[in-house]
Symmetry: D2
Subunit: 353 residues, 4 copies
C-alpha cells in the first residue's frame, strides 16, 4: 500500500515536532513537506537535534515556490487564526486538513465567536462556510463522521482530558449535570515553544499557578461535546493550572453522584463505554496513577473514585498533552480519515524515567 | 527581655530544620536543644550544611543524659504518635508544647479516632486526658485560646491552606455549605525527609499524581474548623496531589455562591475578615499569583474569583507548606503563647528565583 | 527468521526497564523471561505502568520453578557481584550472557581486583576462570571479538562517554598522554531505582555535587581501553558529578594538543575514526549540543573544540546513560553476538521536549 | 548611625532583586531608589511578588524627573555597557558606584578591549579615564584598595568561584602554573531574567550543555587576578556549562600538584589563606558538598582533594551565583567602601530544601 503523504504547516513548533516523531515510525504514512515561516531553509534536525538522521528535511516557506502541495493531508500545527485563512486553498487541491487550533472545532460561526472572543480575537471566522463541514476530532466520539470528512478540528488538549473523563458518566447518567468541576494541571509544553517570562526556567521551576480562572477557552468545546452526550446544555467549571513538568495533563474531575449509585456502577459504566477503545484505559480506585504513565504515548488513563461521604464521583484523567492532547490525536484522526488501522503508528509506550 | 528558650524534638527532619531557620533570626527566642533519635552527636550543620556557622549544636538523644530540659517550649517536629506519648513529661516540667502532628489537633478521643484510623493507627490516643487542654494552632482563628494554653496541636499543612481559604466565605455565608471542594497541589517536601520510591528524583521529576483520593486525614480538621465557623456540620471533598516542586501548597477551592452575590461581596467579606491579619493577603481576580510568591515566608496569599456562568466562588490559596504550613505556624503560635509580638521572627520575604 | 529470545535478570531496575523498552520495538528479538528477586509475580507493567499492554509479563523468581531458561541470551541487569556468581550456569546451558556490571569488564583477576576494591568488594572474583573469555562490550572498539564470544562485560556508563570521546585523539596521537582530564556530569537515573537520601526529590532538585573525586571505579576500564589504543599505560583524572536531570551524561574531556596541530587535524581524525559508526556523531565547534539531543537514543554525540590559547583539545561527549550507557549498548552487543544488523531495534530518535 | 542610602540601577533584573533582598535585612543600609527603564511606575513588588509589603517602592525612570540622586552609593545592576556611560554622572555627584558588569573590572582600556570583544562589543570603553580609579571587587583580595575607592567593578560570577578556588594554590606555589583547568557548571539564573529559547522551561529542564567553549569572557579577570598572585602571566582553560538548577555555580578546578606535595600541604595553604575570611569555608576531602549548601548565602565553600595517581589538585568551588557571585559581593563591597562591618547584612543561612 502506498503511504499517505503528510504536509505539516507550522512544523517548527512542538506540535509539528510531535507529529514528526510519530510519523517517522508510522507504517502507512510519511512526511512529505515541512512548512514553516521561521527558520526557512534550515533542516528540521537543526531545530530539533534529536531528529538528526531521522528527519533532515528542510523547512519550506509557505509563501515560497518550494511548496508543491504534493501530499494528501495537511496538519495545521499552527496557532488560532492560521488554519481558517489557509485551509480552503488546501482543501480545494483535494488535500484533507487536520487543524490543531480552535479554528475548526465549532461548526457554526456563533459557536466559534464565543470561543474566539475568549482568546482576544474579534470573533469573525475567516472561512465561515467551511465550518459546517468540519468535524470535531475527538476520535473516540466522532469516529464515524471523521471517516467521511476532509476537515478536522483537532481537540484542545484540556478538552481531551475532560471529555474522555466525563463522557461515560454523562452517557450513563451517573452524575448530576450541575456542579461539574474540572480542575486541570498541565505541563509547560502546552504553552508552546516560544519563550516568555512566565515560562523562563528560573521563573517556572518550583512554581505552581492557576490561570484564566473561569475564563479559559477550552470550556466551550467541553460543554458542547458533553452536552451532546447528556442531551442537554451544560455549564462546567474549568480551572487550568501550570506546574513544573514539561509534558502531561492531569485533570481532577468532580461530579455529584446520583442517589443510590456507587463505585461499582461507575466502573461498569466506564469499562463498558471504553471497552473497545484502544487508547483509553480505565482503572479502579486502588491503582495509583501518575502522569508519567502516559508520557510520550497516546493513551488516556482514567482513575475512578467515589467519595462516599460527599457522594462525589472523582475521576482523575491523565494524558500527554503533546500526544493524545495534540499530535497523537491528529495522527489517530488521520488514520480514520484514510481508512487505516486507527492505532497505526501509535501503539508504543513512552520513555521512563 | 530574656529570650524564650526552645527545644526541638525531631530536629533532624524538615520540620526541625524549618524551625531552626526561623528561630536563628528571631529577636526574642533562641534554640536551646536539638533532640533527635537519629544522628545523635552529629552537629545540626552536619545534617544541614547550609546551617554551618549558624547552628552547630549537637543532636541530643531524647533518652540520654544530655537532655537537660532547660527550655520553656518544646517543638515536637515529630511524626504522629510521638507527641502523645512524650508531651506529658515536658508539660509536667512546665515546658509548653507545640506538636506538629495530628496528636493534639482534636480535643476529644472520639474525634482523634477518626483521624487516626485514616493514617493506619489504632485510634487509641496515648494521653486522652491531655486532649481537652490542647488548642488547635491556627493562629488566625484561635489566637485567644492559644494565649492561655500550654499545649498546641499545630495544624496540618493542607488544612492551613483550606481553612484560611474558606473561613471568610463561611463566616459571611457567601456559599452553600454543601458541595465544597478543595483540590490541593503540594510540593514534595510535605512528605518529609525520608526517601521513598515515590519521591526518588527520577520517579518524581516530570510527575504529577493524585493520592489518598477521598481518604486524606487532614479533611477532619478542615471540616471541624469550618463547621465551627459555619455553625453547622460540614462535609468537604478534599483531594491532594503531588507535583514536582519542593515547597508550596496551592489549593483551588470551589464553593457554590449564593444567589445574588458577586465578586464585590466576596472581596468585601475576605478583606474584612483578614483586615488585621499580618500573614494573610487577599488579592482580587486580576492579580496573577504563584506559589513562589510565598516560598520561604509565613504568608498565605488568597486569590478571589467568581465564575459567573456557574455561580462558583473559586479561591486559590497559596502557602509554603514548610513555613505557614508547619514551622512558621509553630513560631507564630509560640509568639502568642509567650505574649510576644505575633510577627516576631516571621516578617521576612522568601528567596527568589 | 526466528527472533532471538532474551531473558532479563534484574528486570525490575532501570536497566531492565530500558532493555524492555528497546526489545519491544526490536524486529529480531523478543522478551522471553523477566527475572527479578523483588516483586515476584507482579507484572512488569505493575512496576512500570507506562509498559501496560506492551509488557505485562510476570516477574519470575530466579530461584523458583518458573524459570525455564528458554532463551538464547541473558541480560544481567544486576548490580556488581551477581553476574559473576550466576553467569556460569547460564553459559553451561548455551545461553550467552551480557552483564551490565563490572563483573566481566576485566579479563584477569588482578585487573578486576583494582576495580572491585574501589566499590567496597573484597576483590576476589567468584568465577575467575570465566574472565579470560569475556569481552569488553564497547561495540565500536571490540566488534570482532564480540562476534565470537558468549560473555560480554557491558561497559560502564561513564566509560562509554570517556572512551568514545578520547579514542580518536589517542589513536591519531593528537594529544599528550599525560594530563588527560575527564569531567563528567550525570543524571540521577545512573544511581538506579532504589531511593536514597541523596536522591530524594527535595534534596536533589536544585542541587549539584561532585562525588568520589579521584576514586570512581570506572576510571580503570577507561585507562585500559585507551591505553590499548595509545599503546602505552595511561593515568587519567576522572571526576563525576551529579546534576538534577534524570537521564544523560555530559563529559567534558581535556587533553594537551600536540605542537602544530589544530582543529582541522582534530576534526579529520575524529571523522575518519567514526566514519562507519552508526551511533557516534561528530560535530565541529560551531554546533551547540545538549544532553537532550541524545535523550532516549543510542547515540553518542561528540563536540570537538580547540582552545588555541592553551593548546587544549576539549571534547564534549554526550550520551543517554540508560541507552548508549547501558541497555542500548547491551542490545547493540546482542545484535553483534547473534549476527544481526548492529543497528536493529536501535535506530530511533528520543522524545522531545 | 545613619543608614547608607542605596540606589539600584537596573532594579528589575535578578541582580536588582538580589540586592533588594539583602538590603532589606541590612542593619546599616536602606534602599533609597529603584531605577529601571522597564516597568516604570510599577512597584518592585509588582515585579517580584514575594517582596510585597517589604519593598513596594516604585521603579523610577533613569531619564525622568523622579530620580533625585538622594543616595550615597549606586549599584549598577545593569548589563555590560550601561555603567561605563552613566557612572560618571553619579560619581560627580559624590555617589559611589558598584557596577555588576565587566565595565569596570579592568583598569586600562587595553585590558578592557580583550574582554569586550569577547562579548561582541567594539572594545572602546565609553569612559576610559575612569578605569584607572576602578577597583576589582573581589573583597577577599582587594579589601584595602576597595576601602579607598569610589568605583568598583564587581566580579563576574564564574570569576569569583575560580579565583577563590585557586588563589591559595598559586600563592603557596602548590601547583604548576601551566595546565590549570576550570570546569564550571552554573544555574540558569546566571543568564538573567529575560526569557530566551535556550532557557524556556521545556527546553531547559532535563538539559545540560557546555557553551562558549574556550571563548567565555570571564577568563580574563581570572587570569589577571591569579597572575597577580602567582607573579607571572597565566593562561587558564575555562569551560562553562549550564545545568537545570536556578541558582548555584560549582566549578571543578584542576591543577598539576608540584612534586612532593600532598593533601596536607594543600589543606594547610588553604586554611591559612582563608583563616580570617568570613565568607570562605575550606573543607577536606571527606566532606561531601553540594551547591545547596550555599544557596541563598554569601559563602564560597571549597572542597580540597588530591588525586595521588595523577598528582592533580582538584578543588571544588561552590557559590550562589546571585549572592557571592553578584549581589552579595556588591553588598560586601559596599560595606568595605563605607567602613561598615564587612559581614553586615550578609551573615545568614539560605533556605533548605
Amino acid at each position: 500500500m502506498e503511504k499517505v503523504k503528510v504536509g505539516i504547516i507550522g512544523a517548527g513548533g512542538y506540535g509539528g515536532c510531535g507529529a514528526v516523531e510519530l510519523l517517522l515510525q508510522h507504517p502507512n504514512a510519511e512526511i512529505a513537506a515541512l512548512i514553516e515561516k521561521q527558520d526557512v531553509g534550515k533542516a528540521m534536525s537543526d531545530i530539533y537535534p534529536h531528529l538528526k538522521g531521522f528527519c533532515d528535511l528542510p523547512l519550506i516557506d509557505p509563501d515560497g515556490p518550494a511548496l508543491s502541495y504534493d501530499f494528501q493531508v495537511a496538519f495545521f500545527a499552527t496557532p488560532d487564526g492560521v488554519g481558517q485563512k489557509e485551509a480552503a486553498s488546501f482543501l480545494k487541491k483535494g488535500i484533507k486538513v487536520i487543524d490543531y487550533s480552535g479554528d475548526f472545532r465549532f461548526n457554526n460561526p456563533e459557536a466559534y465567536r464565543g470561543y474566539a472572543t475568549r482568546i482576544g480575537k474579534t470573533g469573525e471566522h475567516a472561512s465561515p462556510d467551511l465550518l459546517s463541514q468540519s468535524v470535531y476530532g475527538l476520535s473516540e466520539l466522532h469516529r464515524e463522521e471523521l471517516a467521511k470528512t476532509n476537515l478536522v478540528g483537532n481537540p484542545g488538549c484540556f478538552a481531551v482530558s475532560c471529555i474522555l473523563g466525563l463522557a461515560p458518566a454523562l452517557k450513563s447518567g451517573l452524575i448530576e449535570t450541575e456542579a461539574i468541576i474540572c480542575d486541570a494541571k498541565t505541563g509547560v509544553s502546552g504553552a508552546g515553544k516560544n519563550p516568555s517570562p512566565t515560562f523562563h526556567y528560573p521563573a517556572r521551576y518550583e512554581t505552581m499557578n492557576a490561570y484564566r480562572i473561569s475564563g479559559h477557552q477550552h470550556v466551550f468545546e467541553i460543554e458542547r461535546e458533553l452536552g451532546l452526550i447528556a442531551g442537554k446544555e451544560l455549564l462546567i467549571t474549568f480551572t487550568p493550572h501550570v506546574v513544573p513538568v514539561s509534558r502531561g495533563i492531569l485533570t481532577t474531575i468532580y461530579g455529584q453522584l446520583k442517589h443510590g449509585l456507587d463505585i461499582k456502577n461507575v466502573e461498569e459504566a466506564y469499562r463498558s463505554f471504553y471497552s473497545d477503545e484502544p487508547f483509553v484505559r480505565v482503572f479502579g480506585p486502588q491503582t495509583p496513577l501518575s502522569s508519567t504513565d502516559v508520557r510520550g504515548s497516546n493513551f488516556c488513563n482514567l482513575s475512578l473514585n467515589v467519595d462516599q461521604r460527599t457522594a462525589k464521583l472523582i475521576v482523575v484523567s491523565l494524558i500527554d498533552n503533546l500526544v493524545k492532547g495534540q499530535a497523537g490525536s491528529a495522527v489517530q484522526n488521520m488514520n480514520i480519515l484514510f481508512g487505516l488501522d486507527e492505532t497505526a503508528g501509535l501503539l508504543k509506550p513512552g520513555l521512563y524515567p
